[in-house]
């Protein structure tokens, strides 16, 4: 694992649909691709008792998260015949209804693209030191827990 190969995954704030469109458009020149698997995480306006989630504020142990992501990336490229893989996770505040996670895997055929996408999402949620703080409309908060 060489330092220079470690790609950043963090973006400040929400991931815009426009950004996603640009990512997709960039792949039109990669004409060996036959299928893209995409997962988008969106902040839910959960109601807890009388309170409603207005936003999630994400923080991370960035260095460790990027190293872990690098290992996951290597595992996934070894396991599936992917053309490419792009991961974007928000840091900071993402409002309810906005996108906080964008996982994008591409392959010549649909099955590896779809399987890799799912596996990256599961591993990212389980293994990356990232924390979401649910900010309620009244200004109080609680720490999110992944299922």
């Amino acid at each position: 694992m060489s330092e220079k190969k470690i790609k950043n995954i963090f973006v400040e704030g929400a991931i815009s649909p426009q950004f996603i469109a640009e990512s997709i458009a960039k792949h039109s020149s990669k004409t060996e691709i036959g299928g893209h698997g995409i997962f988008l995480g969106q902040v839910r306006k959960d109601k807890i008792d009388e309170n409603t989630v207005a936003a999630i504020e994400y923080t991370a142990f960035e260095d460790l998260a990027l190293e872990k992501m690098h290992l996951i990336r290597e595992d996934i490229f070894e396991k599936y015949p992917l053309t490419c893989m792009h991961i974007y996770q928000s840091l900071g505040t993402v409002k309810a209804g906005e996108i906080c996670l964008f996982v994008f895997t591409s392959s010549a055929h649909r099955k590896p693209a779809i399987a890799a996408c799912e596996e990256v999402v599961e591993r990212l949620k389980a293994e990356l030191p990232i924390w979401g703080k649910e900010i309620f409309e009244d200004g109080s908060h609680q720490w999110k827990e992944n299922k």
Partner: protein
């Protein structure tokens, strides 16, 4: 010896200091007891440690100026 502390998520609200001086403590089990005595709320939280960016699976020895991250369950994505 002096240990740098990185606290994340819910634990950043419990442990607000950035370093601890521990005398007579040389490993992560000792550090955990020390922190749980100093910050009793920590006992109610599930957490993992990382020493110098390596996640600790079992008791690990500490050296002067080691950086220890105290991490509650992850909730990214």
């Amino acid at each position: 010896m002096e240990i740098q502390l990185l606290s994340f998520g819910k634990i950043a609200e419990i442990i607000t200091v950035k370093h601890v001086n521990i005398e007579g403590i040389s490993d992560t089990d000792g550090l955990k007891s020390h922190l749980e005595a100093q910050f009793p709320e920590l006992k109610n939280v599930k957490y993992k440690l990382a020493v110098n960016k390596l996640i600790v699976q079992s008791n690990t020895s500490l050296t002067h100026h080691a950086t220890v991250a105290i991490m509650p369950p992850f909730s990214g994505g």
